[in-house]
C-alpha cells in the first residue's frame, strides 16, 4: 500500500469521530466521511506529499459539512441525536473516570448541536480532535485570531445554555425544554 492510502486509511477513525460529532447521526456521518475520502482520492494528484494528509482531509470534510449542512438548524432531519438516546447504554459513561452526570452530557450534546457550524467545527477540532490552534487555523484557512474568537464564542454560548439547564434540572432529571418555532 502506498503512503497516501496508508495515511488515508489511518485517518478514517478520527474522521468518523469528527463527522459524527458534527452531525450526531452515524449514517449521515459515514456518508460525509465517504464523500470526503472519495474527494481525497480524486484529488490525490493535488496533495503535496510533504503536507499532512490528515489535516487536508479534515479540511475537505469541514468544507463538505458546511456545504451540506449549512441549514442544519432548520433541518429537522439533523435534530435527532443518537447520543441522547444511547446515553444510558454507553459503557464509557459507567467508567468512573468519566463521571460527568448524564443530564449535563445530554444538555451539552444539545448545546453543541445548536452552535453555528463554523464555531462547532473549531470547537470540535480543538477539544475532540486535540488539534493545536495553529493546526486548526491551517485546516480552516482562517487567521489564528479567528480561531480564538470562534472558540471563545462557542464556549461562552455553551456556558450560557448549560447554566440555564443545570440550574433548572431537578432530581427527576427531565428538564422540559421550550422549543422555539420559527
Amino acid at each position: 500500500m502506498d503512503e497516501f492510502l496508508n495515511q488515508l486509511t489511518q485517518s478514517i477513525p478520527a474522521l468518523r469521530r469528527y463527522a459524527y460529532a458534527l452531525v450526531r447521526d452515524s449514517s449521515i456521518a459515514d456518508d460525509l466521511v465517504q464523500d470526503c475520502l472519495e474527494r481525497g482520492l480524486n484529488k490525490r494528484a493535488q496533495w503535496q506529499g510533504d503536507g499532512n494528509l490528515k489535516s487536508w482531509l479534515y479540511r475537505i470534510l469541514s468544507n463538505i459539512h458546511l456545504n451540506h449542512y449549512r441549514s442544519n438548524k432548520r433541518n429537522p432531519l439533523a435534530q435527532s441525536s443518537e447520543i441522547t438516546e444511547n446515553l444510558t447504554m454507553s459503557p464509557q459513561l459507567q467508567n468512573p473516570a468519566n463521571q460527568l452526570d448524564r443530564i449535563y452530557l445530554t444538555d451539552l450534546d444539545k448545546a453543541i448541536a445548536e452552535l453555528p457550524e463554523e464555531q462547532k467545527q473549531v470547537l470540535l477540532l480543538i477539544t475532540l480532535e486535540g488539534l493545536s490552534y495553529r493546526e486548526v487555523a491551517e485546516i480552516k484557512q482562517i487567521p489564528s485570531g479567528t480561531v480564538m474568537s470562534r472558540l471563545s464564542r462557542a464556549r461562552e454560548t455553551l456556558r450560557k445554555n448549560m447554566a440555564s439547564s443545570t440550574t433548572a434540572s431537578g432530581p427527576s432529571g427531565s428538564t422540559p425544554h421550550i422549543r422555539r418555532i420559527k
Binding site: 466521511v33 472519495e38 456545504n67
Partner: protein, 274 residues
C-alpha cells in the same frame, strides 16, 4: 508558542487546551489562585472538554464499516496499480439522502429568507431582485452531490451559447482557475426578470462558489449605464457572502461561503473577464 500570542482570556483558553509551555502554565495557575471568577470559567471549560470527549470520542474506537473502506478505495487490497475513478462504488443511497437534505435545506433556507425580509423592511429593490434569488439558488444547489449543475463543464461552449440565447445577452463563462476554482457547469433558473443563469465552481478542497446572472430591472440598468461605471456591492447572510453589480443588461452576483477578501478577489477576477 510565544507569550505574545495570547493575552487576557485567550491565555485562559490556551491554558485549558494545553497550548502553553510549563512556565506560562505556572503563571496562569498563579493567576487562577487569586481570581476565583476566572478559575470558575476555566473549570467550566475543562468540564466542557471532558464532556465532548465522553460524548463523541468513543466513535473512533468503533470498527470502521467495511463499505467505507472498500467503497471509497477498493484498490487498497491491491498493492500496485493506478487509481481507477470509475471503480468508485455507486453512491445512490447517499445521493438520495443528500438530495433530500439539499432540498430541505433549500426549502428552510427559503423560509429563513422570508423571515428575514419580514424583520427587516428596509431592503433595497436591487437586493430583492438579484442577491436574494442568487443566494437562494446558491443554498439550494451547492449541497447537491449528484446534480449540482444541469450542464457540465464538458459542454462549456454549448452552455455559454444556450444561456446567452435564453438571457438574450452574450455571456462569457468566467475562468476562476487563478483563484483555485474549476468550473463544474451551470444551469438555467427562473427569476422575476425572466430566465437567469447560475455557474458553479469548486476548489480542490470541495468549496463551492456560484455566479448568478439575471437581466436587471430596466430602471437600474439605465441609471448605471448612464454613469458608465460599475459599483461592486456587498451582501452577507450568515456565513454566505455576495458581491454583486450591474453592467449593461445584466446583474451579476458572486456567492460564496468564505472570507470577504477571498470572495472580493474572485469578484474582481470575474469582472475583469466580462
Amino acid at each position: 508558542m510565544s507569550k505574545e500570542r495570547f493575552e487576557g482570556s485567550e491565555l485562559l483558553h490556551a491554558y485549558v487546551d494545553g497550548e502553553l509551555n510549563a512556565s506560562e502554565e505556572a503563571r496562569v495557575e498563579q493567576w487562577l489562585d487569586t481570581h476565583p471568577e476566572d478559575a470558575k470559567r476555566v473549570r467550566e471549560w475543562q468540564k466542557q472538554n471532558q464532556g465532548v470527549q465522553s460524548l463523541y470520542a468513543g466513535k473512533a474506537d468503533q470498527e470502521v464499516p467495511s463499505h467505507l473502506i472498500s467503497g471509497s478505495h477498493p484498490q487498497i487490497p491491491a498493492t500496485t496499480g493506478p487509481l481507477n475513478k470509475s471503480s468508485m462504488l455507486p453512491r445512490i443511497a447517499a445521493a438520495i439522502l443528500f438530495l433530500a437534505i439539499g432540498s430541505l435545506g433549500g426549502w428552510f433556507g427559503h423560509d429563513y429568507l422570508n423571515l428575514k425580509h419580514n424583520n427587516i423592511p428596509l431592503r433595497t429593490v436591487d437586493y430583492n431582485a438579484l442577491t436574494s434569488p442568487a443566494m437562494e439558488a446558491h443554498w439550494v444547489y451547492t449541497p447537491e452531490v449528484k446534480h449540482p449543475v444541469e450542464v457540465t463543464s464538458d459542454e462549456q461552449t454549448h452552455l455559454a451559447k444556450w444561456l446567452s440565447y435564453r438571457l438574450e445577452a452574450p455571456l462569457t463563462i468566467p475562468d476562476l482557475s487563478n483563484n483555485g476554482y474549476q468550473l463544474m457547469g451551470g444551469r438555467l433558473l427562473p427569476s422575476r426578470t425572466g430566465p437567469a443563469a447560475q455557474f458553479m465552481y469548486e476548489s480542490t478542497e470541495g468549496r463551492r462558489v456560484t455566479v448568478y446572472l439575471s437581466r436587471s430591472d430596466t430602471s437600474i440598468s439605465t441609471s448605471s449605464a448612464r454613469e458608465g461605471e460599475v459599483a461592486f456591492q456587498f451582501q452577507k447572510d450568515g456565513s454566505t457572502r455576495a458581491f454583486y453589480w450591474y453592467e449593461g443588461p445584466l446583474g451579476y452576483a458572486v456567492i460564496g461561503d468564505m472570507e470577504h477578501n477571498e470572495l472580493s478577489q474572485i469578484a474582481d477576477n470575474i469582472y475583469q473577464q466580462l
